[in-house]
Point group: C2
Chain length 125, copies 2
DNA sequence: TATTTTACTGCAACTGTGTTGCAATAGCAA
DNA sequence: TTGCTATTGCAACACAGTTGCAGTAAAATA
């Protein structure tokens, strides 16, 4: 069940995603919007935007949730089957438009793969 | 700074790792040992055991910390550069003795790669 | 063995991320 | 304009993990 009404919260949050490059953590989003939207609402809107396929979520370095409106993923390819990169210097997180091959594994099926790559981004090299 | 004194807590925790196959989450370890060891101590001992290279830590599905005494990683190869597998049915987590190739990425350096594969394990197929 | 040093432990209180219940508000269709 | 109900804000909660500190106990030293 995604977004069914266009509200102030939805507008503010989508505008935030349009204005950034890369991903944003829920905590950062709450910091930026807490004077205008309650944090509970932020969590709930993000959930719905993900249902709608507008953003996707994943976990960053310390296990906190990040969201990205990734242009590289569309349609059925959506569910973040691409790796994410987090810079260990500045903390910035991006989607990587590459594919990571996972070998077949005996006696197991693979539903989903989460790949987080840690390193230095081009600004911090 | 790893373990420097052999205490009851260290014995109980290492004994737990000897008795299991695969990985164990901090929460499960606390459940099992909370009558014998305080949770703060469990967190602190795990940290030291990781410093010593006896176990390694990584994040599971919901961002909680897991530890494994993985036999496949030794010496400099230690720092969990292997993928981890979490069963979406039973929740069991294992180290996978395979290598995932990460392509070189322009304008970035790679320090570490976290790969979590979600799917069904051989018991749940 | 007795003493001393200090690593380790337990406790209580705290932090940060995320969730839940519920009453009030506000899109939007009719 | 009205009525339905999705959405919101608030307060309180849940849970993983951390911190400060005083007391305890390995283990080195005498």
């Amino acid at each position: 069940m995604g977004i069914s009404r266009r509200t102030k919260s939805v507008d503010l949050i989508t505008k935030e995603f349009e204005s950034i490059s890369g991903a944003i953590s829920t905590t950062e989003l709450i910091d930026r919007l807490s004077e205008q939207i309650n944090k509970t609402t932020i969590y709930r809107v993000l959930e719905k935007l993900e249902d709608d396929g507008y953003v996707h979520s994943f976990l960053g370095k310390q296990g906190i949730t990040w969201y990205a409106k990734c242009d590289n993923c569309t349609g059925h390819y959506h569910h973040d089957e691409h790796p994410h990169f987090q810079c260990t210097e500045c903390g910035k997180v991006d989607c990587l438009p590459i594919t990571v091959q996972i070998p077949k594994i005996e006696n197991r099926t693979i539903d989903k793969t989460n790949v987080l790559i840690l390193g230095k981004c081009n600004m911090c090299l």
